[in-house]
Symmetry: C2
Subunit: 427 residues, 2 copies
C-alpha cells in the first residue's frame, strides 16, 4: 500500500506534538508561584481543549475554569491517578474514568462533550493526541476477527436493544422528514428513502450486506415486493430476523444468511449496505468493491450508507476500545475508493449528519428512561459506558466530528436513472 | 507527488497493449488469403472498437461491417493515409480526418460516436490507446499558460457563441426540471438550482471562479440581491459581462474581474464555480483548495460544478488538442481531494450527466441551424471541428463517458444547513 493521507497527517501532527511537548514539560518543571501542580495540569488540559466553558474540580475542592462565559458542566475528578491519566490521554481515559466513576459530571453530559469536541477541533487536538497512543490503528477485520468484533457489540442481547431502539429495531441513522417526526416514523421514512433511491420494484432482487435485525430486508419484501438475501455475522440478530420473517409471512421472499459480506455470491438488481461499512475497515475496501462489482449486473444499482468524517482520523480511542473494536468512519473520498476501480457511476450523495444527531437524541432519552432495567440486566458500569457512548456520539454528530453519507450509484453508462431527484420528495 | 491512479492504470494498460500489439503485428504479416491489407486494417480497427454496428468504406469501394444488426452510420475513408492514421491513433485522427474531410460520415454522427464510445468501453480501449500517444498529459495550466488555453476557446468571438447558446449565454450544463423544458428555461432553472443549494439571501456576498459571460453572477445580483465578485481570464467574456451589468443596472452589486482564480482575495459568504474546474488541471487542485479555504468564513458554503468521469482517464486526445488545451475532467474522488485537506463538509452531490446530454442536443441543433453563418464567419473546417466537438460531447454524456458533478459543501461543523433537500423541489 502507498502511504495514505492519514499517515501523512500523523507525521505533521507528531512534529507539532514534539514542540508542544517540550513547551509543556518546561511549564511543568517551573510552575508559576501560587499554583499547585494539579492546578497547573488542569489548566494545561483545558488549554489543550481550546479552553472550553468547562469547570474542573479536584478531590480537595481545588477548581479551575479557563473558558469564557458560564460553564456548561463541571467535571469532578476523584483522585490524582484519574487526573494524571486524563492528562496523558484524555481521549481514552475520560471514558475509562467516567465508567469507573473516578470522574463525575455535574450538568449536561452531551453539552460537555460538544464543547470538548469543538475545542479539540480548534486546538487541532487530534494531531497532538497521537503522541500518547501506542496502538494507532483499529483492530483487524479479517474474517474471524470481524466475527469477534461484531459479536462484542451486537450480541449483547436483543432484550437490551429493544429497551431503547424503535419498534422495528433499526440501529442506524433515521431520516426525519421534519424534526418533529417520531423515531418510529423516521425509521420507516429512512427505509422508504433508501428504497426510493434504489427505485425498488416488485420482483427486484436485492442483496443486503450487514442487515442488523432485518428490518430493511423485511420492509423491502413486505412493502416493495422485493426478493432479498441479507447477510450478517451476528448470530443473535440473524435468529431474531428469521423469526420475524416467519411471523410476517415473508419467509419465501427474504433469506437471512449468517455469513460475512465477503462470501456474497450470485447477482442481484440492487446492492444495499446500511451501517456496515464502519466495521469493514479501510484495508478491506478493495474486497468490498470487488464483492459489489461481481454481484451487480448491467442494470444494477446500489447504496452505501455509512458514518463518515470530513477528514481522515482514527475513531475516538475509547469508542474503538470499548464499543466498536475495528471500526473506522471513512471520509467520502475514502468511500469512493470502493467504487472507483470498477464500472460504477455515483448518482447522488446525501449527508444526513443532523438526522443521526436527532436519532441519537431519541435513543439517549429512551436509554435514560430504561436505565434501571439496564442496570438490573448488567451493572452500573455498563449503564455509564453506554450513556457515555450514546452522549458522545450525539455530540460528535452535532459538532460535525462525524458525518453520515448515503451514496447512491449505478453501473457506469446506465441511462435507466431518474431524471431529477424530485421523486424522493413526493413529486 | 505520489504516483497517482491514472499512472497506475497506464502501466497495466501498457502491458496489455504490448501483447495486443504483438498479436496485431503477426496478423498483419500474415493476412488471410482473399482479404486486402486495407480490409484487414479496417477489421482490426473495428475489432479494437468492440465491433460496433458501423460500416467502413474505402476510396475504392471496399467495405467492411463486423457488427450485428444494421449499421447506424457509414464512415467513408478518402485515402490510404487517412486509413493508416486512423489505425494508428483513432482517438486523435478520427477528429483530424473528419475536419479535413478525408473522412465523411453518412448517417447520424452522434449515434456513430455513441456506438464507438460504448465499444471502446467494452474493449477497454482507452488503456490500449495510450501506446500510441506520446504526449500523455494535458498541457500546463500555470498562470500564463492558463490564459493562452482559455483565450484559445473562449475568445473566438461572442457573436459566434450567440448563434447557438441560450439568450443568457450560459456555456455550462443546464438543469431541465422536465425534459421538455426549453433551453432558455433550463438555464434559468440551473441558476436557481445553484442559488437554492447555496441558500442565497439578500446581502450575501459571493465570489465566482470562472464566470463565463457573467449570467450567473448577474442572476444572483438581480434575482437574489447578492453582492458578487466574479473572476474570469477571458477578455472578451469579461467585457461582455461588464456591459450587461451596466445595461441591467446592477453594476453596483456585481464586479467582474479580469483575473485568475488564484488571485482571489477577501472573504465571502459563498464560493461558486460552475464549469471552471475542467480547466484547472489536477496539478492545481491544491491551490484551488487553498483559495476556497482562505475566502470562506465559518458560515461559508460553496458549490463546485464540473464535468467529471467515473474513472481517471485523460480527456479525448483530439478534444484536448483542438478544443480544450489543458483540460481534464476529474473523478468525484479527485474533486474531493480539493476539499478534504481543509475544514469543509460535503452536504450534497448530484450527478446531472443526462442534463448535459440534453443541453448539448439543444446546442448542436441550434449550431446546425446556424452552420451557414458560422461557415461565413470562419470556414468549413471550423464548422466541421465544432460539429464533431458538440456531437462527441453529446455522445460522451449519453454513454456515460463523461459525468457532471455538482458538489455542495459548507464549513465543517456548521449546523446552519437545510434539514432535508425538499426545499430544492419547491417544498
Amino acid at each position: 500500500m502507498k502511504p495514505d493521507d492519514a499517515q501523512l497527517l500523523d507525521i505533521s501532527g507528531r512534529r507539532a506534538a514534539g514542540n508542544e511537548r517540550s513547551r509543556r514539560f518546561l511549564e511543568l518543571c517551573m510552575p508559576p508561584a501560587g499554583l499547585s501542580l494539579e492546578g497547573r495540569l488542569m489548566r494545561l488540559l483545558l488549554g489543550s481543549l481550546g479552553n472550553p466553558p468547562l469547570r474542573l474540580t479536584l478531590w480537595n475542592g481545588e477548581s479551575v475554569f479557563t473558558g469564557e462565559g458560564d460553564a456548561v458542566a463541571c467535571v469532578r475528578i476523584a483522585d490524582r491517578s484519574a487526573l494524571l491519566r486524563l492528562f496523558i490521554n484524555p481521549e481514552l481515559y475520560f471514558g475509562e474514568a467516567y465508567v469507573d466513576a473516578s470522574i463525575e459530571v455535574d450538568g449536561d453530559l452531551v453539552k460537555l462533550l460538544e464543547v470538548a469536541y469543538r475545542g479539540m477541533e480548534l486546538a487541532s487536538f487530534r494531531g497532538r493526541l497521537r503522541l500518547f497512543t501506542s496502538l494507532d490503528r483499529p483492530r483487524s477485520n479479517a474474517l474471524s476477527a470481524a466475527r469477534d468484533n461484531i459479536h462484542h457489540h451486537y450480541d449483547l442481547g436483543n432484550e437490551f436493544y429493544r429497551l431503547w431502539l424503535d419498534r422495528e429495531m433499526l440501529y442506524t441513522c433515521a431520516y426525519f422528514p421534519t424534526p418533529d417526526a417520531t423515531l418510529e416514523q423516521a425509521q420507516v421514512a429512512k427505509m422508504d428513502h433508501v428504497c426510493r433511491k434504489l427505485r425498488l420494484r416488485p420482483g427486484d432482487t436485492v442483496v443486503e450486506a450487514g442487515c442488523g435485525w432485518g428490518a430493511l430486508a423485511l420492509h423491502m419484501a413486505a412493502r416493495y415486493g422485493a426478493r432479498v438475501r441479507a447477510f450478517n455475522i451476528s448470530r443473535e440478530q440473524i435468529a431474531y430476523a428469521r423469526a420475524r420473517a416467519r411471523a410476517m409471512g415473508v419467509g419465501q421472499r427474504v433469506e437471512f444468511m449468517e455469513d460475512d459480506y465477503r462470501n456474497i455470491s450470485g447477482t442481484y438488481d440492487a446492492f444495499v449496505s446500511v451501517g456496515m461499512l464502519e466495521h469493514v475497515g479501510r484495508d478491506h475496501y478493495g474486497e468490498l468493491g470487488r464483492v459489489i462489482d461481481r454481484c451487480l449486473p448491467r442494470n444494477g444499482r446500489g447504496i452505501l450508507h455509512s458514518i463518515g468524517q470530513d477528514q481522515p482520523a482514527l475513531l475516538n480511542a475509547w469508542i474503538e476500545k470499548r464499543i466498536f473494536p475495528g471500526a473506522y468512519p471513512p471520509t467520502l473520498r475514502e468511500m469512493l475508493a470502493i467504487l472507483e476501480p470498477h464500472e460504477f457511476s455515483v448518482l447522488d450523495v446525501e449527508n444526513l449528519r443532523l438526522h443521526y444527531a436527532l436519532t441519537l437524541e431519541h435513543w439517549l432519552r429512551r436509554f435514560e428512561d430504561a436505565r434501571e432495567r439496564v442496570s438490573g440486566m448488567y451493572d452500573e458500569r455498563f449503564v455509564r459506558t453506554w450513556r457515555l457512548y450514546l452522549a458522545g456520539s450525539l455530540a460528535a454528530f452535532n459538532t460535525g466530528n462525524l458525518q453520515l453519507f448515503q451514496v447512491l450509484f449505478v453501473r457506469a453508462g446506465s441511462n435507466d436513472v431518474p431524471w431529477t431527484r424530485a421523486h424522493l420528495y413526493g413529486q
